[in-house]
Subunit: 352 residues, 2 copies
């Protein structure tokens, strides 16, 4: 396999060495060994700390898209009203996913190069539309935007919106997430971004209010949350859990606490500043219209003048560096530097 | 972690050494490296050989239950008629899953200790009920039954039933499966049984007829088959594939071909005979009413007289041996010896 000295792809990130080594253990059957349940519960506690929540956390076997679908399908029924707040491809996509369930979806789309700008519009729409769920994305990976969730959290509470759903897949474990403070009912994370674990686990916090709605809806499927409601007490999972997945995820959360969460956050912030500085020095234009919107985990920038993405990508790969391209309306215009988890060693890199 | 010298749990099985070692590789991003797509396609070809099919094969990130749901939800709509042929817990469960989608389900339940006995009843029901899909289970793990699919395959063709869905999770890679010969449209497999890979990958063959129905239905979700239709040509997956999962699965299929598939099949058959012989010698009664029904991958037997399951399990664990208990109506009555994949070294074991 071709490898690169400097992988800066915005996920899946390079896996931590000690996480890789956990994969060498031949674990027993998660269905029968009580040790598995202990590990699962310890991993839940770690994720609660990382998400800053007292809510339950459910861990599933699958890529991050699994929790994105799970949170919607487990809580929504055809005809339910969903307000999707979007500043990018995922924000809009979540609204489309809710439509496919038969929900009545209203999407407020802000330009992809900034955050939630018009608080008044959001408030007015919530007041008039009265959604069952507000959806938002914390970090929009394709455009490198980190959205401040404060205002949405306040409006959710003020207007008694039953559910606030936040995709935090690309920020979890690198950025402060305040699920409880921001009144988030479903806070979604994945393994393959800042946690630097293979792309086969995902998780989500589930508030008491969300559990009661999940019980009312009674959705069934591989992505159903309901069968996870009592797993921590019964030990009966809706499918055989993958012990190695949970063990690798737990190693990763432990890595964060060994380093210290504040240190991890600072490391990402510093790396982000450094990347932006280097882009400026190289004359490469940042995609976000203002640095303040740029996520500490991923930086989006315009492909340098005179290059196609293919040419720039090829040149960087020859130096041992891999960045990410883009898709949708950003394809061929904007590239991405993924600096999260293991991938914050940006100092030695030259962008040209 | 507590480990046992002789794990004979009926899945997840002990992972092959060289599969574990594949997990040490720090793979790149499956989204951007063309090498990943090559590997995926090679893995598909191997699985086609193992399933004996010319149909496409889709590989998903998740536990086996993912393909069980995927095959149903991708092909069925509320009101569709499903005939579930059951000789055990999974056979009946699949019918219940189809009901949860809103299908009209008829279930023919045979006793759990034998196979499809009444061919006339099956034929009459197909002729009258005219199902869109027939579902069946190849190996019923809880009861250790292997069902011969010949008759169902013939009836499916004779009565022009659009879809034949077969759960082969607990037989794939150990037993001859003839997906094309038996007119199977959706043949489902998982990683954690005879393939001896962690419980985080699953796959399914998809016939041309199934693809056309999947397109008509247009189901969306994490478990949706439709977005996988063109992945082999476009390289665009509906979510980031887990490269390590595919690499481990491929190592496992390669292990099978290095040993030779016929040899693998014989190894399982010999092990099964040996297990049954040892059970007889120990005076332990086989659960299947006749040896001919017993699966080469798992043997179900009555818990020896004078023991509860907990007592017998404890005694065996003290010898370094782990078997599986049971659930549903078999709980506390029948235990299971999982001898598949890596777990066929039964010669040295003493059952008492």
């Amino acid at each position: 396999m071709k490898t690169y000295r400097y992988p800066f792809f915005p996920g899946p990130t390079s896996v931590s060495e000690n996480v890789l080594h956990v994969g060498l253990t031949n674990f027993g059957s998660a269905d029968v060994e009580p040790e598995f349940l202990d590990l699962y519960k310890k991993c839940v506690i770690d994720l609660q700390k990382i998400l800053n929540t007292k809510s339950d956390v459910v861990i599933m076997t699958g890529e991050g898209m699994l929790v994105l679908w799970s949170g919607l399908k487990s809580c929504l029924e055809p005809g339910d009203k969903v307000l999707a707040i979007s500043t990018g491809i995922f924000g809009t996509g979540i609204g489309e996913m809710a439509k496919s369930i038969g929900c009545e979806v209203k999407t407020i789309e802000f330009p992809y190069d900034c955050s939630f700008e018009d608080h008044f519009l959001i408030e007015k729409t919530i007041a008039e539309f009265k959604p069952k769920m507000i959806t938002a994305v914390h970090c929009e990976t394709p455009s490198g935007i980190l959205n401040d969730l404060t205002i949405l959290g306040k409006l959710k509470k003020m207007y008694k919106v039953p559910l606030f759903y936040v995709d935090a897949v690309a920020s979890v474990g690198a950025v402060h997430i305040n699920a409880d403070k921001h009144n988030i009912d479903l806070c979604l994370g994945g393994s393959q971004k800042a946690l630097s674990v293979p792309a086969n686990s995902c998780f989500m916090s589930v508030s008491d209010k969300a559990w009661s709605i999940i019980e009312e809806v009674g959705y069934q499927g591989y992505d159903a949350l309901l069968p996870f409601k009592d797993v921590k007490t019964t030990g009966f999972f809706p499918y055989t859990p993958s012990w190695v997945n949970i063990a690798q995820l737990y190693q990763s959360t432990q890595n964060i606490f060994v380093e210290g969460f504040e240190n991890v956050v600072k490391r990402h912030e510093n790396c982000s500043k450094n990347v932006i500085k280097k882009l400026k020095e190289a004359g490469i234009k940042l995609f976000p219209r203002d640095e303040k919107y740029s996520s500490p985990t991923v930086t989006a920038a315009y492909i340098p003048d005179g290059f196609t993405w293919e040419e720039y990508d090829k040149m960087m790969r020859e130096k041992g560096i891999v960045f990410g391209g883009n898709y949708g309306e950003l394809e061929g215009k904007v590239f991405r530097i993924g600096h999260m988890g293991t991938q914050t060693n940006f100092e030695e890199l030259c962008l040209f």
